[in-house]
Symmetry: C2
Subunit: 429 residues, 2 copies
């Protein structure tokens, strides 16, 4: 008999199937026992009755414990009212009867759960979050393939501490020093002249000492870079991408969003156009909302929270002051004090999920910025080369996967959005 997955049970109603799974929960009422099975693809209830099973099996099943692993054989039936399936068990076998499982139904502290992350991943909330994360990753690849982007894996080990070392992890690299990458963008800019449109998607690292609900020291970032685009075209791609990703989750993860008690309506808004305001307008609005932000200042995390609670859909904040933005951002020809850039902020208080900009494509201008920012010129000689040999107008953006997962799942803390989170105080398991 071939093993079937719980997610496929609908195809096997009234048939006998074999399922391999873990016992996520169990209860018994005299002559009948109920096991909630979890096989990774979904959940189903197994019904074990003393009239169906012989005495030996009936005795054996009393040994069941939380998280025991089993193979069962039984007939599939549909729950009369819900889209759930049950199995009337005719035979079963334990792979292993689990020892007393440390994660009980009672409330545990976050540190305890994180110490047991290797087990906590099995909990239905965590299961649902990882499934949504998987859909968001998968949708990203689909979108970029559909739009003629080539994946160019940018390096993690980099030779220069380009923008100061305070937030960089440093390591000995044979007889020199190396630094863990914070973004692949500069490398992608090199690749557009070969491939036109490129993206990377991998882990990046920030040795930030900040302990907030939005920070991890290791997280997954996607950078995209495009030749021959202006800021408006760049934002269009971002809007299409985010819309595509959220739609994929709405389509594929209904059950998971239900487990997470996510307000689906809030996600369905994504079909409407995203909001767009300038940094000047955002600051004015924030001041009206009671923030102490000053004109020309960057938005802090709290500002983003206050601001995006006003919106029911993602919001682009464009044209930040160039002096608070990175050296490579092109300036607005109409107002040199502004950068041709935008951050995309998720609604409902979530804040920044994407940062993007037009890149400076003029050699002399770029050299000037590098000097102004007191960056080591020779470390950027290869990057400057790109402006010597067929420079083109170009731009791109990067998203932080975990922040998108947090928003889409509607969870407050980013630490649950990655399988094995790394923070200033956590490197385990």
């Amino acid at each position: 008999m071939e093993t079937v997955l719980i997610k496929d049970l609908a195809k096997f109603v009234d048939q006998e199937v074999e399922i391999k799974a873990w016992v996520a929960n169990f209860r018994s009422s005299g002559k009948i026992a109920f096991w909630q099975l979890r096989d990774g693809s979904g959940f189903a209830q197994a019904i074990l009755s003393s009239t169906e099973l012989d005495e030996t099996k009936w005795q054996e099943l009393q040994k069941v414990s939380l998280e025991s692993s089993v193979k069962i054989i039984g007939k599939v039936s549909k729950h009369p009212k819900k889209e759930e399936y049950e199995i009337q068990v005719s035979d079963f076998e334990f792979y292993q009867i689990a020892e007393e499982y440390p994660i009980a139904k009672k409330e545990h502290g976050v540190d305890f759960l994180m110490d047991n992350r290797h087990l906590w991943l099995r909990s239905s909330h965590q299961w649902a979050i990882m499934r949504v994360r998987n859909t968001l990753i998968s949708a990203t690849y689909d979108f970029f393939r559909e739009h003629n982007f080539i994946k160019i894996d940018s390096p993690i080990l980099t030779p220069n501490a380009c923008e100061g070392t305070t937030e960089l992890f440093e390591l000995d690299y044979f007889d020199t020093k190396a630094y863990l990458s914070q973004s692949g963008q500069l490398y992608l800019e090199a690749a557009i002249a070969a491939h036109g449109r490129v993206f990377d998607f991998g882990p990046v690292f920030r040795a930030e000492k900040s302990k907030t609900r939005r920070h991890l020291t290791e997280f997954w970032m996607m950078d995209a870079e495009m030749a021959f685009v202006d800021l408006a075209e760049n934002l269009k791609v971002q809007e299409d991408l985010i819309r595509f990703m959220v739609s994929a989750v709405l389509e594929k993860n209904k059950a998971e969003l239900e487990i997470l008690e996510r307000d689906i309506k809030a996600l369905e808004n994504i079909t409407k156009p995203f909001y767009k305001i300038t940094h000047v307008e955002a600051v004015k609005k924030l001041q009206e909302l009671g923030s102490d932000i000053k004109d020309g200042e960057d938005l802090g995390a709290d500002d983003e929270t206050i601001l995006t609670k006003q919106y029911d859909n993602p919001l682009f904040v464009t044209h930040y002051p160039s002096k608070i933005k990175a050296f490579y951002m092109k300036r607005d020809a109409e107002d040199e004090s502004k950068a041709l850039c935008a951050d995309l902020l998720a609604p409902e208080g979530y804040g920044e999920i994407i940062g993007g900009s037009q890149r400076e494509d003029d050699y002399q201008e770029l050299l000037k910025r590098i000097k102004e920012h007191r960056l080591p010129e020779d470390a950027f000689s290869w990057y400057l080369d790109l402006r010597k040999y067929g420079s083109v107008p170009h731009g791109g953006f990067g998203f932080g996967l975990e922040r998108i997962v947090a928003w889409v799942c509607g969870i407050p803390h980013i630490r649950e959005t990655i399988p094995f989170p790394r923070t200033i105080s956590r490197l385990n398991p």
Copy 2:
């Protein structure tokens, strides 16, 4: 006028289009000039004639240089004999006239090319390799989605130097030490109890001092892990995956394989069943072929080369002696001296592309192995937990992306298979 991609020119024959591209090559014969255009999606020839263009434009085009960036407008026609398209240019504009391009048609040394990797990526060979790499990545995601695997990103920053520190990169992690991951397998084993089948796909790091054509210090690895499989089922998944990946390249990268002068026939063999021999048989065969390998020894890189030159399709070598394999591999119940494992070797001398095995699922046995290997027991307490709480038969495998790219592209050295290679002597650009 909307810009079209060169790859789509077939749809625009006899129509006027706009193309944005780089001049990859150019020549002139009196009243007519030919530019080879590259826009990332493909290559096309632009024909510029003094009868079609006004005098100013005709003078301007004389300034063209290798890698200049241009926008051209012109009518599309098909090459009478080949699947190639030409554009009869009616107007053009330079974005930038490139300075003298350092990579000429003449032969350059590898060090020079690698120093200029940010430009070398534009060369047609390198372009083709990255496109094949992209297809292999994309096919991996498709395959795993199709087969109900969930992506679980394993961490790069890990707390323990589990198997000795000689090949590990170490870094300061706030007030402790961290190590860059060499494989996510152990973490994936934790995730199967939540998701059944999982994979990761990301960079891994080896501080190996070896300078060979098969080694990089940073490379991309895919690990897959499955609950409820035996070794035979595990190998079946590997065979299906590799077949799926190579078929995708044959389907999508005909032009690229031609540029690389790859023997297509050698790749088309992939539809035949893969070969399978035991380690004992492999050693015997190698001894016959003149290798000095001794019974019970591991296959060296040279052995893999000699052996796989005998085969026209990938070859599984199974049942290595358990004492030369990792502690977590389950032993063969019929012969405890053998591990339930297999390496998959690519033909034509390429050698190992996949390593996989059944994992030890018994707590006491695993604990014994950890002690035998003198590994720090407390570092593995979470890994041992997986055998306490619903242990199941399981196995998995990992592939090295760059080795697969090298084989599929038919190139001898792995350093060209990754955008920005890192080796013992290279951390730049």
